[in-house]
């Protein structure tokens, strides 16, 4: 990459990066690229970028590569990277902020991610608890992964884990409903308010 395109990219990306890092409370300059985060990351081996590379791309202003990456969506928020980071860079918050930015701008790199959250929150809002059968079914249908994990169904039914007639609803879900609704309506949360404009959504 020549110097000009590097600097052009920086200028354009500046705003997006500022918004992400401010949201996450992370100073990108703290990172000196030792890779200790990635060495211990439980999902890095299966991801497209390592956590270190996510920061590196942001340091260089190449926000496009980060916004298109799967890594932020794969982050399970375990916190190992932060615990070991010599510079105390809050990577879990950064990953979360990237996802949130993508959702808010309708450019989620992993379309299943926001979808999953959306269904999860729908469930929670309606019933007060997570109804996993409903969640799995809706998720498979809406994402087109029709037969994902279906193989395990007989065993789960046999073990009484699902379809055992358990009450997948709170007696009075109104408190939870109100909380979730408020959360989804809050600006910058990728909630319902944003979704109407963006045609995409789900909160995290």
């Amino acid at each position: 990459m020549d110097a000009c395109s590097e600097s052009d990219a920086r200028a354009q990306a500046g705003e997006a990066i500022a918004s992400i890092t401010e949201d996450a409370g992370v100073n990108l300059r703290d990172c000196y690229q030792c890779g200790k985060c990635s060495g211990g990351c439980p999902v890095a081996a299966g991801a497209d970028l390592t956590p270190r590379q996510v920061i590196r791309e942001l340091q260089l202003g190449r926000v496009d590569r980060v916004l298109g990456a799967r890594m932020p969506w794969l982050c399970v928020d375990c916190g190992v990277c932060l615990a070991r980071c010599p510079q105390s860079v809050d990577l879990p918050s950064l990953m979360e902020a990237i996802c949130r930015y993508e959702v808010d701008h309708g450019c989620a790199a992993v379309r299943e991610g926001p979808k999953f959250m959306d269904i999860f929150l729908d469930n929670l809002q309606r019933k007060g608890v997570s109804d996993e059968v409903n969640l799995a079914a809706r998720y498979n249908i809406e994402t087109g992964h029709l037969f994902q994990d279906v193989g395990g169904l007989p065993r789960m039914v046999g073990a009484g884990l699902i379809m055992s007639g358990g009450a997948h609803k709170l007696e009075d879900p109104s408190d939870v409903t109100r909380m979730v609704a408020r959360l989804r309506a809050a600006p910058g949360q990728g909630g319902a308010g944003d979704r109407e404009q963006q045609g995409n959504g789900g909160g995290r």
Partner: protein
């Protein structure tokens, strides 16, 4: 009163932001000012010449130089006035219009106005200045060196070689410090012991050097040229005058299972012991904590076998006080205790995760494995070794924020030594940066790469046991791949931290320490071996992490400073000290309590007040101890104490001028 004002351009340093000509013109309007001038570089030889001739031609009796910080050139200009004019050198004030004005302002108008104010204040203060005179204080030509590592040994040898007596104090039972534990030294691979032990015995044999082992500094009082130091020499339980160092006691001592400090816990020692065969003094001491006789009264084997009857179970600590003219702090370092910090590396639970210093002992021919590289757990030869750099260093989260400087090189040395002794072995080095600034250093690193060491750029994230080995997880940040290396042994190159007790030593010596705990030099560039306490000098890692060549160079520099002081034989006193007006002193003691140097005391004085003789308690200043800090003059309720050169009157005049 005839005041002259000289405004310096300092090239464009000042003139770039301050209109110096206008400052000089404005100065002429100030009361008492009869002359003003500007100069391109006032500190240069022609600049000084023009100031001196202006003083003579205009019969000036007070001088203001508006230039850089007084820390920079006040002494230069004082010396100039003293040597080249008839003026008293204390009739000079410096207005700092560089550091405190031109360097911090961008706006020329603002900068110029501030410079005018600063000059006006200096003129107001110089009007109140009085002539001050220095006296000469004698210097005790005897040096105390604290710490018997290579820094202390070298400094002691250099001072002693110039003919001055030195006391070398070491709190362990032998001098030699860390260097004598090392196997080889980079980049030349000299045997460390072979170049360190001759220095140790040279120090022992030098008639000007007195070695005090197992000794610590108890207290320090006094000032440059005249420090009174109390030393506590711990009980050794062996009479060194009688002991021949034959070593029979060590072979017979029944307590044999004590981890050896010298071998970093990789071997054991007895309760009566010499830490290593070449120890200096070459005589054993009894470790009272583990000695059966001293703990329970039952044993006494060493006393029975000693052919010269040198054992003294009733030995006690000896406390002595001696006067020294200069003190050298060479207290060295420790390695950071990684076990308490790095849970991800096993926190010390895995025996085959060792430190660099342990590796030095393992690879050393006189070490616990006689130089064969065998891992501690099962004494087998590790076929894969992982070296982890920056453990503790550059890790503000868990360790220290600074770089320990020597680790890059000794990690390369360890890789080289391992590959040399285990030709079919594989060595990985996890690193963040390779810092090899030094003569022959980068060449050494390149040679290690040629030896076959695999450098992986990344910090190890976790070490966990698997089978009979260890797995190191990390990222090769150059390829972005996550790597897992199955290792038989892992060497952690841990950070250097100030030696234990540095804080206590610093307060005894009244020397400052930096945020990382190392002793602070007087100036990071221009006074690297002096401290802000005159007469106390720094050598080696006590001042900051460094390798052996730098340590030895610094020790030599310290010696030259001490020899210079002793050669002069006397020092000029600082006349800017506290002065007490006994007629106003009520003897309230407020000053005595605030003085950080113990320079103030109360005395019974016979005074004449209102034509009557009275005897009252009043304060007295010890001019040798007073450092002129001014704390007492602030604390004094009756205004009896004043700081010469910074009189209350002068400072009030400055404030007055600023408020006009």
């Amino acid at each position: 009163m005839r005041i002259g004002v000289f405004v310096c351009h300092c090239g464009s340093n000042i003139a770039g932001t301050v209109d110096v000509e206008r400052v000089a013109r404005e100065a002429l309007k100030l009361p008492g000012v009869v002359f003003s001038d500007t100069n391109k570089y006032t500190c240069s030889a022609p600049g000084q010449e023009s100031v001196c001739s202006a003083i003579k031609e205009n019969a000036l009796d007070r001088v203001v130089i508006a230039s850089c910080s007084p820390r920079m050139h006040e002494a230069t200009f004082r010396k100039m006035i003293a040597e080249k004019t008839d003026l008293n050198p204390y009739m000079l004030e410096i207005a700092n219009i560089r550091e405190q004005c031109s360097w911090v302002h961008k706006d020329r108008e603002q900068g110029t106005r501030k410079a005018c104010d600063l000059v006006a204040m200096a003129v107001a203060k110089v009007s109140c200045d009085r002539e001050l005179f220095t006296t000469n204080l004698p210097v005790e030509r005897r040096a105390l060196v604290i710490g018997g590592g290579i820094a202390g040994i070298q400094a002691a040898l250099d001072i002693a070689d110039a003919g001055f007596p030195v006391t070398l104090v070491e709190r362990e039972s032998s001098i030699g410090g860390k260097m004598v534990m090392l196997d080889k030294t980079f980049p030349t691979m000299d045997c460390s012991a072979c170049i360190c032990t001759p220095k140790m015995s040279e120090a022992a044999e030098n008639p000007n050097i007195e070695i005090k082992s197992l000794t610590e500094v108890e207290s320090v009082s006094g000032y440059i040229g005249s420090f009174d130091v109390t030393l506590r020499e711990k009980a050794k339980y062996v009479d060194y005058d009688v002991c021949t160092g034959c070593g029979l006691c060590e072979t017979k001592c029944p307590t044999k299972k004590i981890p050896s400090e010298f071998n970093q816990g990789l071997s054991t020692r007895t309760a009566i012991y010499k830490p290593f065969p070449q120890a200096v003094p070459s005589k054993p001491t009894i470790d009272a904590e583990h000695c059966k006789k001293l703990q329970s009264g039952k044993c006494g084997v060493c006393e029975k076998v000693c052919p010269t009857g040198a054992i003294r179970y009733d030995d006690v600590d000896r406390v002595t006080t001696q006067r020294y003219g200069a003190i050298v702090v060479a207290s060295g370092y420790e390695l950071i205790d990684w076990t308490g910090l790095y849970g991800e590396y096993g926190a010390g639970r895995y025996p085959d995760v060792i430190t660099g210093l342990q590796f030095e002992r393992i690879v050393n021919a006189s070490g616990p494995t006689e130089g064969h590289i065998l891992r501690p757990s099962d004494r087998t030869e590790p076929k894969t070794t992982v070296i982890v750099k920056c453990v503790g260093s550059r890790d503000p989260n868990k360790g220290v924020s600074y770089c320990s400087r020597a680790c890059c090189m000794y990690a390369a040395k360890h890789a080289h030594q391992y590959l040399d002794k285990v030709p079919d072995g594989t060595c990985y080095v996890f690193y963040m940066d390779v810092r090899c600034a030094g003569k022959g250093y980068d060449e050494f690193y390149m040679r290690t790469l040629q030896d076959g060491a695999i450098y992986v750029r990344g910090r190890v994230s976790k070490i966990y046991p698997e089978g009979d080995g260890l797995v190191c997880m990390g990222e090769d940040t150059l390829s972005g791949e996550i790597v897992r290396v199955k290792a038989d042994m892992v060497v952690l190159e841990t950070a250097m931290v100030p030696s234990r007790g540095s804080d206590v030593l610093a307060s005894k010596l009244n020397v400052q320490r930096g945020p990382e705990g190392f002793f602070t030099e007087a100036h990071p560039k221009l006074r690297p071996v002096e401290t802000n306490t005159a007469g106390v000098y720094l050598a080696g890692v006590a001042q900051g992490p460094k390798d052996i060549p730098d340590t030895v160079a610094q020790a030599g520099a310290v010696a030259s400073k001490v020899i210079g002081l002793f050669a002069r034989g006397q020092i000029e006193s600082n006349p800017m000290l506290s002065k007490v007006d006994v007629s106003r002193c009520s003897g309230c003691r407020a000053c005595v309590d605030v003085c950080p140097y113990g320079a103030l005391g109360l005395v019974q004085a016979n005074l004449r007040e209102n034509s009557r003789k009275v005897t009252r308690t009043v304060c007295q200043v010890n001019e040798g101890l007073c450092q002129g800090c001014g704390a007492c003059s602030v604390a004094c309720r009756s205004g009896a104490l004043d700081l010469l050169g910074f009189s209350d009157e002068g400072i009030m005049q400055e404030v007055e001028m600023l408020c006009q």
